[in-house]
């Protein structure tokens, strides 16, 4: 093992190169002889720093201006690396780096696999748990803020809104939020929920409904989005995916821009397919809990499937285009397993009549 090499020393006072000899002593100490002077640099000393490649070792020691020693003998550099390892000064970075140097191609493929799995599984999982950490009041506040801005553009029908509110109040759909229902004059077959409890139903969809169970199903579906914080989940998931992709592409300013960009996203959010199905199925459980026939959801979905072909855009209730036969089949199967309540609907029928008949 080569423990001695010729080197060049710079003393940090002038740029004059000084011929030097460097040795590694048994006790893990570097000994440098230059210009008749001897310096001892212990390997454990945190003041001793180095950068190493195969052909060049650069050591620096002391406080500013530091002394610098350059060694270019490959055999010495290898033995220096061994001593460093023995002195316990080999960090995570060095370990990963030597792993990568061992098989760059394999390491590259491994890295890609890890990152793809991270993107597909770790990010949604992390986003889900991050959402749970956010206070529920955040949903209410952001939903209110968005509704304030939106309501100027919406043609609200206050009489039918009141009736719909009476209808909705008869059902317990969301323990954590106060649901506020709004009816809007618009021919689109559409309904949507904002985080925190605003549920907007367009007259276009309202006038298509034939039975109170269908309306209850629609509200239960939207209320599930609210109660289970689907907007927040999608928002956090989108933001974290964006951050992750920015990191992959090494785009730091992109990472920070996320903070500024997500303000208005709630409006343009579409739920993922699995969240829509969840809203169907959990909505049905809410219906049963409220003594309403869960087949209302099946009828509602069938009704809307016919509409979907006419109005492909702006049907946010159907945001997971297309409204797949799968979703209907799932709802049908689920309804089959549920006990259909036999008790009456209290005065849902009357109120439904009020919601429908108002001009």
């Amino acid at each position: 093992m080569t423990t001695e090499a010729e080197a060049v020393l710079y003393d940090g006072r002038t740029s004059r190169p000084i011929d030097a000899v460097v040795r590694i002593r048994e006790q893990g100490v570097l000994e440098v002889d230059a210009d008749g002077e001897r310096f001892l640099w212990p390997l454990e000393d945190k003041d001793l720093q180095w950068e190493r490649s195969r052909a060049l070792l650069r050591l620096s020691f002391g406080h500013h201006p530091r002394k610098v020693l350059i060694v270019r003998e490959a055999a010495f550099i290898r033995s220096f690396a061994d001593h460093v390892q023995r002195a316990g000064r080999r960090g995570v970075y060095d370990r990963v780096l030597s792993l990568a140097r061992g098989g760059p191609l394999l390491f590259f493929l491994g890295t890609v696999v890890v990152l793809v799995l991270g993107y597909l599984y770790a990010i949604p999982w992390g986003a889900e748990h991050l959402t749970l950490l956010l206070p529920r009041s955040l949903d209410t506040r952001s939903g209110n803020a968005v509704y304030d801005v939106m309501s100027d553009e919406l043609d609200l029908d206050s009489a039918r809104s009141t009736a719909l509110q009476r209808f909705g109040d008869q059902l317990q759909l969301s323990p954590h939020y106060t649901l506020q229902y709004h009816v809007v004059h618009d021919d689109q077959v559409n309904a949507f929920a904002l985080p925190g409890g605003h549920i907007v139903v367009f007259t276009g969809i309202l006038d298509k409904l034939e039975r109170p169970e269908e309306l209850a199903a629609l509200l239960a579906h939207e209320a599930t989005h609210v109660e289970d914080r689907h907007s927040m989940r999608m928002l956090v998931r989108q933001a974290s995916s964006y951050v992750f992709l920015s990191l992959l592409l090494g785009d730091v300013n992109g990472v920070v821009a996320v903070v500024a960009q997500n303000a208005d996203n709630i409006r343009n959010l579409s739920y993922s397919r699995d969240l829509e199905s969840k809203a169907d199925l959990e909505g049905m459980q809410h219906l049963v809990a409220n003594g309403v026939d869960p087949h209302g959801m099946v009828d509602l979905l069938k009704l809307l499937r016919e509409e979907a072909s006419d109005v492909p855009q702006g049907v946010s209730f159907l945001s997971s285009h297309p409204l797949t036969a799968q979703r209907i089949a799932d709802a049908e199967r689920e309804a089959g397993t549920m006990e259909v309540p036999t008790s009456g609907y209290r005065d849902l029928d009357d109120v439904f009549g009020a919601v429908r008949s108002l001009p």
Binding site: Y10, D11, G12, R13, T14, S15, R16, P17, E51, S53, L56, R58, S60, H64, P65, R66, K67, V68, I70, Y93, V96, L97, A100, R101, P104, F107, F108, T111, V114, L115, G118, V243, F244, L247, L248, G250, V252, N253, V255, V256, V259, A260
Partner: protein, 322 residues
């Protein structure tokens, strides 16, 4: 003792980049992995490693440069920069919320414009203060006030002239900043002229249009030459070294098209090799004219460890290569 002399006779490049694409690839790969799995926290360390590789493998007269910056100090700077960034946006959103949108936009624009000289000043102080050659540190001794003055005055004139005065703005900045760069007891200076630079760009622009883009490589050569040829390195006792570019339009064609193909056909994996080609190109096309004794540089600069501006520049995407 050997004398390191740069003489008129020796017009070959004294700069050399000795890095290898394969080595750089592994470093960038490890940086990439660690940055992503730490959700970006590793970024400052990755940046330090990358810069260290480039400095360490660039040699002047057979002696490597060195970057002393550490991930830890860059991380501190990163945190401060993020704080500053969020504070600016916080005030902006606060003004929006209290329904003062005009004031909010004026504030945001003012803050972003005001940050440019701050970023330039701080980044030069940090980068150069943490760079050395033969253990002698570089340094930047410009004043922030002067940069503000240039940015404000020339920035306003650039706005009024629909961007034409930008050429003068750029030359004034370059003259000032490069004129305050030091390497120990030696100094650098730059003599750029706004009109020359404007005409150079006008010619480049028009000919690029006429030749359907082909002249872009020669335009690039002119920009590079203008940068290199106007730079001087001044020593004690009136000695000085001038820089000369030896790059041709054909060289630039080879570099740019080659790099493009290299990155495209490897789906980005070839980026490390493209970086190496660029560094070799730059170092290989700068030659030195003049005579001096490079053994007689004396350490003069203090240490500067505040990396906030450097990181802020990354966040705001402000390039510091003026």
């Amino acid at each position: 003792m050997p004398q390191y002399r740069i003489t008129m006779e020796n017009r070959t490049s004294r700069l050399a980049f000795i890095g290898e694409g394969g080595d750089l690839f592994v470093i960038l790969l490890v940086n990439w992995l660690l940055t992503v799995i730490t959700l970006g926290i590793y970024y400052p360390w990755a940046k330090a490693r990358r810069l260290q590789y480039f400095y360490e493998h660039t040699e002047l007269d057979g002696h490597p440069f060195h970057f002393h910056g550490t991930g830890r100090e860059m991380f501190k700077g990163f945190i401060k920069a993020v704080g500053l960034f969020l504070a600016v946006y916080g005030i902006y959103f606060l003004l929006i919320m209290v329904r003062m949108p005009v004031l909010a936009i004026i504030f945001l624009l003012g803050a972003l414009i005001g940050l440019v000289p701050l970023v330039l000043h701080g980044t030069y102080r940090y980068r150069l203060g943490r760079s050395s050659w033969r253990a002698i540190h570089f340094g930047y001794r410009g004043e922030l006030r002067e940069l503000f003055r240039i940015c404000l005055r020339d920035g306003a004139l650039t706005l009024i002239t629909f961007g034409i005065y930008g050429a003068w703005l750029q030359m004034h900045l370059r003259n000032y900043i490069l004129g305050h760069v030091r390497l120990g007891s030696s100094r650098f200076s730059y003599k750029g002229d706004g009109m020359d630079y404007f005409l150079l760009n006008l010619k480049g622009y028009l000919l690029t249009l006429i030749t359907l883009g082909i002249y872009a490589f020669w335009w690039q050569r002119d920009l590079f030459n203008y940068y290199v040829d106007n730079l001087r390195w001044e020593f004690d006792e009136g000695k000085r070294v001038e820089f000369r570019s030896t790059a041709t339009g054909g060289d630039f064609f080879g570099l740019i098209v080659g790099n493009l193909l290299l990155v495209l056909f490897t789906l980005g994996i070839g980026l490390a090799w493209a970086h190496v080609r660029t560094m070799r190109f730059i170092s290989g096309h700068i030659s030195f004219v003049g005579e001096t004794d490079l053994d007689r540089l004396v350490q003069t600069e203090l240490e500067h460890k505040n990396a906030t501006a450097d990181e802020l520049g990354d966040l705001l995407d402000i390039g510091i290569f003026i």
